[in-house]
């Protein structure tokens, strides 16, 4: 047993560090570390820089542009990114769609779409959830009816993250309404969001930010060649996609970054004339979450290694998502509490690029409550923690 990095892994970390130091644009780093929202241009610029380096799709098979990194190397990369203030590439194209196209798409589709994913030129959105189909994803209603060499799509998707920037959206649609079980009769299809009949409507979340959207489809004509895999087999691909998320799902890098920023805030705040971070009751809470994160970091690496060796990945990703989201939410909560009274003024624009009005409190204080509120979502979206628990209990208890 050896829990330190090997010499090779240390060298790899140094390589990542050197690359990020040289290549990460200052403005992107600043937006990222101050808790602001990256603009579309910032997202795409950074994606392209990584893509040019060959690091935008590290977990793909080598022949499609992957790096061949081990899970531990990926974790090292992930952490170094957060340590240096580098954003993560959005998961929709790289971690979700890409593996599906590689495994279930055809050559034509791979040739057409993988380059735009690697470079970040194509902005992909995810079209799974619907108003009536949240946790119960299989009850989705958006329909795709075959009409010659097209499908005609009608319906509504929701919670589409950053769909306002989208060029393309991959959707689950119902192609056979008469199927015996709701899981049957679903297909996986790619829709150009610039086509007529596609409308994106913003959803403002309770923290005042515009991150998610509704996407409406009215008689949208989608070429049949945009169907991925076989018709009515979409549920299989969707399950593959969701299980495939386990690497990075615990959010270790992000939580380590938040821990640093929490410590910074608590050092600046005062209690009884001394820095808050020296207060015994605050320290105990800080230590608890710090220890939980320390454990999660090791658990994450250990489980990824075990998965590589054949352990069932199903419960692993769910377990990591459950505890990872709890740790992240706790960190944001402590940050809000540490911010004190200045968590209360509501200045949601304060995180936007270019906002230059006068703040009540510091930017870290101003962003603390919106961040707390915003991160309530991480135990809801992408399969709520209740759903994750049911997945684990099904696999490990049989119920």
């Amino acid at each position: 047993m050896e829990l330190s990095l090997t010499a090779e892994q240390t060298a790899f970390r140094d390589e990542v560090h050197a690359f990020l130091k040289e290549s990460l644009p200052e403005d992107i780093k600043h937006t990222q570390t101050s808790g602001g929202h990256l603009s579309k241009e910032q997202h795409q610029r950074w994606h392209k820089i990584l893509g040019d380096k060959g690091w935008s799709t590290p977990l793909w098979p080598l022949e499609h542009g992957g790096t061949g990194w081990s899970p531990v190397e990926y974790a090292v990369f992930d952490e170094e990114c957060y340590r240096m203030g580098a954003p993560r590439v959005l998961p929709f194209s790289v971690s979700m769609l890409g593996p599906v196209l590689i495994n279930f798409g055809n050559d034509e589709q791979r040739k057409r779409f993988l380059p735009g994913i690697r470079s970040g030129e194509d902005w992909w959105a995810q079209g799974f959830s619907e108003p009536g189909a949240g946790s119960d994803l299989a009850s989705l209603k958006t329909s795709a009816v075959r009409d010659g060499d097209h499908y005609v799509v009608n319906g509504q998707k929701t919670w589409t993250t950053l769909g306002q920037h989208g060029d393309w959206i991959f959707c689950l649609v119902r192609t056979d309404a008469s199927a015996a079980k709701p899981q049957i009769g679903i297909s996986f299809i790619l829709i150009d969001m610039r086509d007529p009949g596609v409308e994106v409507r913003p959803i403002i979340t309770l923290d005042g930010s515009h991150e998610v959207n509704e996407v409406w489809f009215t008689d949208v004509r989608v070429p049949a060649e945009n169907l991925v895999g076989q018709e009515n087999m979409g549920w299989t691909y969707a399950k593959f996609l969701l299980q495939n998320e386990r690497i990075g799902i615990a959010g270790i890098g992000q939580s380590k970054e938040q821990l640093v920023s929490l410590r910074r805030l608590a050092s600046a705040e005062k209690k009884n004339g001394k820095p808050l971070i020296e207060d015994p009751s605050f320290r105990a809470k800080l230590s608890e979450v710090e220890i939980e994160l320390r454990a999660l970091d090791l658990t994450n690496k250990r489980m990824l290694v075990e998965t590589e060796r054949g352990m069932d990945p199903g419960p692993v990703s769910s377990m990591l998502k459950i505890r990872g989201s709890e740790v992240a939410q706790r960190l944001f909560e402590l940050k809000m509490d540490a911010a004190g009274l200045y968590a209360l003024p509501f200045q949601p624009e304060a995180g936007d690029a270019g906002w230059n009005d006068q703040l009540a409190g510091t930017l870290a204080q101003a962003r603390s409550a919106p961040h707390y509120l915003n991160t309530r979502k991480i135990s809801i979206f992408g399969g709520s923690n209740e759903i994750q628990r049911s997945i684990v209990s099904k696999m490990m208890l049989g119920f």
Partner: protein, 368 residues
Amino acid sequence: MNFDYSEEQKMLVQSLERTLAKTYDFETYRSQLATKSSHDPALWNSLAELGIMAMSLPEAAGGFDGNHTDIALISAELGRRLVPEPFVSNVVLSAFVLNACGGDSAAEQLGEIATGERKFAVGFYEPGERHNPLALSTKAEKTADGWSITGHKAVVLGGDTASELIISADAGGASLFMIPADSDGLTVRKYQLLDGRGAADLIFDNVSVGADALLGQAGQAEAIILDAVDRGAAALVADSLGAIEEIIDMTKEYLRTRTQFGRPIGSFQVLAHRMVDLLVDYEQAKSMSMEASVEADNEDAATRQKAISACKAKVGAVSRKFGKESIQMHGGIGMTDEYALGAYVKRLLVNETMFGDTDYHLERYSSL
């Protein structure tokens, strides 16, 4: 021992309920937020006409000589409807301070509070000293014809709408001053809080005021400050209870009607049982809120502080749990701005944090 409200109290609440049900629903709230103001003169006047500002004030000032259980009842209704108007800053804090300090103009000013025609706000807290209302860096120096004040007051509830600002400053010990909001050298940095209520930071840069700006005696204000904060805390706790009752109704309804996997989500045992724990917590919080509303008027400071801190800590912890759990049970819809739940969760966050957060009161309780 009884837990009953008087007939007068019940009538007042009923008329307040009726008025708000007619004039102030969630859409009204959202339109008011869109105006970027915490205050709607028409609403404020109709509330004043109901007598809710006068209820707890002394008869001499045109009030009805009520007590803090009146305040609690009214606050609960305002919380239940998300009303952002500056009730607590005027009727609870300012009225208490003015009444306690006496002085020539106190009766007149209390009268103006009772009718709602003039607005006041009270600022004790300062940046960088968290929840201790006695930590005082703001200085008042004696000048030839009065005082010169320099300092910074943080997140003053109602500071955005008040024409008169009552603040604590060090003038040989904690002292209270009343200063017009338009004074030279005073910057009033206005904003809205998470839930739409208004506040301001007040920055005093050698602000000159007359000798009559001093309320009560110089250096003698500590007891009044602590008492005022306790009353503010008790009012916000009641406000939270109103909000929590609304959250309970919304969440129960959602659990009954939202279906997933072909059944109402409330029929999933984990959600049902967590809802039960919330209901037990609610009953506990309600009991503490009742006790706080009675003890807020207790003249024995130690008894009062112990009850208020117990209540603020308990209701704070329960509120936090309600916020998290109700959003989680609602799922995605609970995350959206156009659904009322989020507004209630934010109201609870403000109430938790103002006038001492949960940790502050837990520690104060331990030290008493």
